[in-house]
């Protein structure tokens, strides 16, 4: 079983012996520096155990913890502008991210879940995973123009590629040098195959055979994905 913070353990032991009215009073303390403030890790334990159901303690704990969770999700998304493209796409991103983390918290079957050990990190991880899920879902139906067809190696001839060989190298170098927050933000906004091709080739500097293998396509198709992505990122470099 995962080890809990001794200070939190002590708070849990104290709470077990208290009257429901006193527990509810302590739950209502919002200032995290106040002496009676109940840490979120302990509230998570109360909620997961359905502690004090029928006495008002459980509902008070849910209310307080859900609020903290939503505040952290909102704050985490706000502090990371590189996710702006995803936030723009889903106006309910905070509510959705919160409900995903909430569901995870109350359905976790382990004796002690991560939220009871490090709540802040738990919320960040859940939010991060939710953002990754949104990103993977993004442009699910994107046109796959470069995918190999049954007859030929690729549906679109190489000559139609938007960037030529020498220009591509210059762009690659320029982008590698300027992987700023703005550029990262633009990268997140690219369609799936384009952003993955750009990431693997430009950021990770993989050779073309590796990029193609990971994208599960041919080398020319992988190049095409990256070139399209680079073309879209060109504006961010100006």
């Amino acid at each position: 079983m995962a080890k809990q913070d001794p200070k939190h353990e002590e708070t849990r032991r104290v709470l077990v012996g208290l009257d429901p009215t006193e527990i509810r009073r302590r739950i209502s303390v919002e200032d995290y520096k106040a002496e009676d403030y109940i840490p979120s890790e302990v509230l998570a334990s109360l909620v997961r155990a359905h502690f004090g159901q029928g006495t008002g303690v459980l509902d008070a704990a849910v209310h307080a913890l859900y609020k903290r969770l939503m505040v952290i999700v909102a704050c985490f998304i706000r502090r990371n502008p590189q996710w702006a493209a995803l936030a723009r796409r889903n106006s309910d991103i905070v509510a959705d991210g919160t409900s995903v983390a909430w569901l995870n918290l109350i359905s976790d079957s382990s004796a002690v879940c991560f939220a009871e050990i490090r709540f802040l990190t738990f919320v960040e991880r859940r939010t991060f995973d939710y953002m990754r899920h949104l990103l993977a879902d993004k442009n699910q139906a994107e046109p796959d123009a470069g995918r190999p067809g049954p007859e030929g190696e690729e549906a679109r001839p190489r000559s139609e590629s938007v960037v030529d060989e020498s220009e591509e190298t210059q762009l690659e170098t320029a982008i590698r040098k300027q992987l700023s927050v703005t550029l990262n933000q633009a990268l997140v906004g690219l369609p799936k195959s384009e952003r993955r091709a750009v990431y693997l080739r430009i950021v990770q500097e993989c050779d073309w055979a590796t990029v193609a293998r990971m994208l599960r396509c041919s080398v020319p198709t992988a190049r095409q994905h990256m070139n399209r992505g680079l073309e879209k990122l060109r504006g961010e470099l100006k």
Binding site: E9, F51, Y66, I72, D92
Partner: protein, 208 residues
């Protein structure tokens, strides 16, 4: 609760990335590439995670005092409360199953293991919620059942309220139903044990 929630599900890649982030709180591109190479079947999902993670700014404890959208909270909190009430607690169910398996000779064995000696009636009373377990015993039981103090305390509280009311007539005075568990001290004293044994059992009330 929301549309997104229904389409969201954790896959094996979630676990892989979580474990990776636990061991690399601030991973660089090289570390991500190592992870990609170690899990080629999830290379693209990991690439997405790496891209999202670049330059991530973390939140600290002071975030709980930041302003937030009260309207969004008000419109969703009742769903969160309902969800808790209609979702059985896995931890509570687990401890219930473990405690219900402690019957007959197992009770005596457990009582001895806990240092209660042959006083299995005390342990039975505690496990049925009739006797208030002292903090020390509660902690020991939580460890034995691979659970936590909070979960165990809630289970015992529920057991007390779920116990059927006795149907026999009172032998002395008016019949009555206990509205709260019997304190440990009263339960020990009611056994009228030799003083040494009584003191030993009352020692469970002492907090360490």
């Amino acid at each position: 609760m929301t549309n997104q929630e229904t389409s969201y599900h954790e896959g094996p890649v979630t676990r892989i990335i979580e474990e990776f982030l636990s061991s690399h709180p601030e991973p660089g591109d090289k570390e991500w590439m190592t992870l990609i190479e170690a899990n080629p079947e999830f290379a693209l999902e990991i690439a997405d995670a790496a891209l999202l993670e670049r330059g991530t700014r973390h939140v600290d404890e002071s975030a709980v005092n930041e302003a937030f959208d009260q309207a969004t909270f008000e419109s969703t909190v009742s769903q969160a409360i309902n969800l808790v009430h209609k979702t059985p607690s896995p931890t509570l169910q687990a401890v219930e199953a473990k405690i219900s398996s402690v019957k007959g000779p197992k009770t005596l064995a457990l009582a001895e293991k806990l240092g209660l000696g042959p006083r299995r009636e005390l342990l039975s009373g505690v496990l049925a919620g009739r006797i208030q377990a002292p903090e020390k015993l509660l902690c020991m039981l939580a460890t034995m059942f691979d659970s936590t103090v909070i979960v165990l305390a809630e289970h015992l509280r529920r057991s007390f309220f779920a116990a059927p009311a006795p149907s026999f007539k009172a032998e002395q005075g008016k019949p009555g139903i206990a509205t709260r568990p019997m304190p440990w001290r009263d339960a020990v004293l009611s056994l009228e044990l030799p003083s040494e044994e009584t003191l030993r059992l009352l020692d469970f009330e002492k907090t360490t």
